[in-house]
């Protein structure tokens, strides 16, 4: 779409900008802060400070991590959780995007579907776990279904809001210039909803990770959530910390991916 020079770009990332970001003052301050926090945590742990001191010290966590990195179960947990999140998330996009757009465009369709969505939306995805386990044939499918729900409702409502908020001036201008209804949909309404779609995806991705971890603790014997829960049952406290941090990193990576996609989808918002 845009005529950007390509030699600075890799996978849609501006490498020069990335290098600047990595070596910026903000980044170095951030690194210093993290190192300081880890040192403080180690000290608290050694001094047996109440509450905080109960958490395993960084030194013991690192020792466990070294062993865990060799363990295939750890990596399988990553793969399994990622798969659940992404399958649920992608199915939510496939179902939710057309549904949200249709609801935004057609008043009749909105009147028919909105009440149903509004009845189901307030039910937390985790409240679906028992039902999901009963009516889906495999536990895998039930967990994926619950993650799907986590992303689905936010997405639909964001897109619906996006379509309804498309500025009338754009539609009018497009009509004056001779657009067909198809042009108005594909070239005006659709791109105009990209920012809300992107917001819906970002929020949805966050909810998806929350949901998958909890669902794994309740109804599964695999994944990062289960890894963390199992370590608690087994009393292997350093691994609990590793599980938590792993979930944090996984969520961060997923959000970064969405941001990257969103930036590609809405190039006109990137530049100020």
């Amino acid at each position: 779409m845009t005529n950007q020079p390509n030699h600075h770009y890799f996978l849609g990332i501006n490498l020069i900008k990335l290098r600047k970001q990595i070596f910026s003052k903000t980044t170095s301050r951030g690194i210093v802060a993290v190192i300081a926090a880890v040192i403080l945590w180690e000290i608290c742990s050694r001094l047996k400070v109440p509450i905080i001191g109960m958490i395993p010290a960084p030194s013991s966590v690192i020792k466990s991590l070294r062993a865990l990195l060799m363990d295939t179960f750890y990596w399988e947990s990553w793969v399994v959780s990622f798969k659940r999140v992404f399958v649920g998330f992608i199915v939510a996009q496939i179902v939710g995007i057309p549904l949200g757009l249709a609801m935004g465009i057609s008043r009749h369709f909105r009147d028919l579907t909105f009440p149903i969505i509004e009845i189901f939306r307030p039910i937390p995805p985790l409240a679906w776990v028992p039902t999901a386990v009963i009516f889906w044939p495999t536990p895998e499918m039930s967990i994926t279904f619950v993650t799907f729900l986590g992303a689905f409702f936010t997405l639909v409502l964001n897109i619906l809001g996006g379509v309804k908020n498309v500025d009338i001036r754009y539609v009018r201008a497009a009509k004056s210039l001779g657009s067909s209804n198809g042009d108005i949909f594909w070239r005006i309404i659709l791109p105009a909803t990209f920012p809300s779609l992107f917001t819906g995806m970002t929020v949805g991705m966050g909810i998806t990770w929350e949901v998958v971890v909890a669902a794994e603790m309740i109804a599964s014997r695999s994944g990062l959530g289960f890894l963390t829960w199992r370590s608690y049952i087994a009393g292997d406290y350093p691994v609990i910390v590793i599980g938590m941090i792993s979930i944090g990193v996984a969520g961060y990576l997923s959000s970064a991916l969405i941001r990257l996609l969103g930036g590609r989808l809405t190039p006109w918002l990137k530049i100020i």
């Binding site: 500025d167 001036r169 009018r172 009509k175 004056s176 210039l177 791109p191 006109w268």
Partner: protein, 303 residues
């Protein structure tokens, strides 16, 4: 509405010499129902002559934008008729294009994509020709280097110029400008007026320009229509016979100052009338009229 055939979708290539004659006949428009009902236009009639630049000036809130929306087909009249070259206006069409005060450029398209949007969706014009034509127009308004920028990357003045080009490339029968330069700083505004008046003098499309700025109005106009306060009607039509091409040096000519004096007096009367009627909008109108008078004092004219 009557059943005349609407020829607006016919083929027209190139400009339309002598086309774009707008006839607004006894048009009324009200918004709201019951006690909230507000009559904006009542029995309003006026003519926009083809190939001329008609400027409409009137106190703020007098229904100028409503009139533009009706002409563009974004809204329908309650009573009366609007004819373009004898055919009733029905819905939006590429023969009547509007440039608004706030930009309506599509934010997700670059300047170039915005400009070629009209011909593209109508499947007109060969790709190469279209690009050449678009670039030619962009060059004329000094935007050639900004063809691949998004509207958010353009200044207010640039956005307005891009929008002008986006409309112009469709060679509409009528170009409608709804206070397009409002909100721009004085320097940019002057520059825009110059770009605009050059484009008009070159293409000679029928132009309808709405403003509340008296100096701008006289500088641009062939015909100046002064509207009265609500109910909005034509108060006076002044034929401005300043020579074309228009130059800013004319702003100090005796002829220009006479026109300004004449227009100011009428506008002042209207503002005072509105003020006396005690309506809330009248206070704003009065202040606006007052600021106009003050700017005359600077040019050493009696208010």
């Amino acid at each position: 509405m009557n059943n005349h055939g609407n020829k607006e979708n016919g083929n027209h290539n190139g400009s339309h010499p002598g086309a774009g004659h707008l006839e607004i006949q006894a048009v009324s428009k009200a918004y709201g129902v019951g006690p909230l009902r507000q009559v904006v236009l009542e029995d309003c009639s006026l003519t926009v002559e083809s190939g001329k630049l008609t400027v409409i000036i009137g106190p703020s809130g007098c229904g100028k934008t409503t009139l533009i929306n009706l002409l563009a087909g974004y809204d329908t009249v309650d009573a009366g008729t609007i004819l373009i070259d004898g055919n009733p206006v029905r819905g939006p069409g590429r023969d009547r294009l509007v440039v608004f005060q706030e930009t309506a450029l599509f934010p997700w398209m670059t300047t170039f994509q915005n400009v070629v949007y009209g011909p593209q969706v109508r499947g007109e014009k060969h790709k190469g020709n279209l690009e050449a034509e678009a670039m030619e127009l962009l060059r004329k308004v000094g935007l050639a280097d900004f063809r691949d920028k998004y509207p958010t990357q353009l200044s207010g003045g640039m956005q307005r110029r891009a929008e002008l080009v986006r409309a112009l490339i469709n060679t509409p029968k009528v170009m409608m400008m709804d206070e397009p330069f409002r909100g721009l700083d004085a320097m940019t505004r002057e520059l825009m007026q110059e770009y605009y008046v050059r484009l008009f003098e070159e293409h000679r499309l029928t132009n309808l320009f709405v403003t509340s700025e008296i100096e701008e109005a006289i500088f641009l106009a062939d015909r100046l229509i002064i509207l009265s306060n609500r109910p909005t009607k034509v108060r006076t039509v002044i034929e401005i016979t300043l020579p074309r091409p228009r130059e800013f040096t004319m702003l100090t000519s005796r002829e220009y100052l006479n026109y300004k004096q004449e227009a100011l007096e009428i506008l002042h009367q209207e503002a005072m009338k509105a003020f006396a009627s005690g309506s809330q909008a009248a206070v704003a109108d009065f202040l606006e009229a007052y600021s106009v008078t003050r700017s005359t004092e600077k040019t050493e004219q009696k208010p």
